[in-house]
């Protein structure tokens, strides 16, 4: 479904990602693990058209995304659920969700997707008229995920969905990611929490200082001595 081949991304003269190659097949849940600053988020942003490629090629469903704009990538069916400031704080919950469907013209389907999203996140329906900035951190994260779903993506990119959340919410977030995949959306997730990420994924890639140095199924990666030593505290 998604092929990333030899992708290099630079900030000025510094290459944050070097010749990264990975693929995601339809229906898979693939994770990208690695330490802070390894280039995980950068690679995700490059896939979603928020950063230009210095070299390499990205293909989605056989079509080249080249240096496509964020709009084109979204239209092709890839949604990005970013890290950090994830919502439009002064817009209401409902308006945030509408922004997720910003490029869609099929109003009937958008309305039914909205009902589905509210069914998945009842809290958001209760707070639909509230400004998103007044939600708790966990609720904001749910809203960010819900908003990304509103574009009805074929492939969903999650950037550190557990970052800055309380432990119980971290677990809940991963459950939701798994649920989204079960409903048929392919997932590529960047996650620092290697144990959780490897436990739930089909396959995983390990990124170190901008290069992909390992990849394999979740179990293979969990059994890898280097990963155990450096990322699993074993």
């Amino acid at each position: 479904m998604l092929q990333v081949e030899g992708v290099t991304v630079r900030y000025g003269h510094v290459a944050a990602v070097r010749e990264a190659t990975l693929r995601v097949e339809a229906g898979e849940l693939v994770t990208l693990i690695g330490a802070n600053g390894a280039g995980k988020s950068t690679l995700l942003k490059a896939i979603s058209g928020l950063l230009p490629l210095a070299a390499g090629e990205i293909r989605f469903e056989g079509r080249s995304l080249g240096n496509a704009s964020a709009r084109a990538v979204l239209t092709a069916g890839i949604a990005h659920c970013p890290e950090g400031r994830r919502v439009f704080p002064q817009l209401t919950v409902r308006e945030n969700l509408d922004m997720g469907a910003y490029l869609r013209r099929d109003r009937v389907a958008v309305a039914s997707d909205l009902r589905e999203v509210f069914a998945l996140f009842p809290r958001l329906e209760e707070r639909r008229a509230q400004a998103a900035g007044t939600l708790s951190g966990g609720e904001q994260q749910m809203l960010a995920i819900a908003r990304a779903l509103m574009s009805r993506p074929k492939l969903m990119l999650f950037d550190e969905p557990s970052l800055g959340l309380a432990p119980t919410l971290v677990e809940r977030t991963f459950e939701i990611v798994a649920e989204i995949r079960r409903r048929g959306t392919t997932v590529l997730m960047v996650e620092q929490n290697a144990l959780a990420a490897l436990g739930m994924c089909d396959r995983s890639y390990l990124l170190e200082t901008g290069r992909i140095v390992q990849h394999g199924t979740g179990d293979e990666m969990l059994a890898n001595p280097h990963i155990q030593k450096a990322y699993l505290g074993g």
């Binding site: 928020l50 709009r71 990005h80 970013p82 994830r86 919502v87 439009f88 817009l91 910003y102 008229a129």
Partner: protein
Amino acid sequence: MSARIYPWLFVAFLASVPLWIGNQYFLYILTSAGIFIIAAISLNLLLGFTGQLSLGHVAFFGIGAYVAALSTLGFDLEFGSARFVFPRQPVWVGFFAAILVAGGFGLLIGKLAFRVRGAYFVIVTISFAQVMRMIALNWVDLTEGPMALNNIPPLSLWIPGEGVVGFFKKEYNYYLVLVLAVLSYLLVQRIVRSRVGRAMIALRENEPLALSVGVDVTRYLVVATVVSAGMAGMAGALYTHYIRIVDPDVFLFIYTVTMVIMVVTGGKGTLAGPVVGGFIFGALPELLREVASPEVQWILYGIAMIAIVFFLPQGIVPALAARFAARRGPGAKPEPEARAP
């Protein structure tokens, strides 16, 4: 009774003012405040809803003023041996030309400046206003420089039963400004509540996120600049035909500052903000003139400004909206547009 009716009651009240106000001087103050309110409404679209600070906004106002004046007066220019004569045009041709030309400059500035946003936009707009002032001062063949363009005819309109009437009377100008201010308000309201407006607010709030949900950020910033510039140009044209003289001082920085003050104290990013701020800071200096000496006037003006910024940092309208919502109870939905960053 729906809350929607209050703004219209306010408009009806304003419409009744010439009927009972005895002092024509107050009508003059309200009319010039109204012209500045239109300019402030236009600035608010940029500053309040897209979050871009145009510190050269008066440039669009001044361009509108000069275009309206020059088209109604006509002009001729000599380029070496070639002579270009521009004949006098009807006032409304000049009026619409002012909107179009100012909007065109908005397109130019928007395209240039938004390649590099934020601080650079501020610098580009300031420089633009200064360059316009220099042109108005030094291109004497066209603008008469500091001697000013004068004898500009007032706007005129065909009124049933009276034929074509020149707007020499204060009431006519007052009503004209009132109607155009209401139209400007409605236009901005329409934009802000549309999909385009939602996108503008989204990019003010979180630009990377707006990009990632597919908002074409640059395009909407340019659209906002064009509409805003055209509206400011219209205010400039009104000013020209009302005051009937225009000199390079219309490009003074202080007028931009006045507009920014109106927007910020009233509540940037709210529809009513520039109207409230415009009434206070458009009329206050003139009204104070009645009761205080010039030094005291400006001191009071400054104190009023500091007090508002200090006690109501969001502006007057959001502060009132919050108080109103609190009184109606926690379930009350705040005015959807009452959101200042």
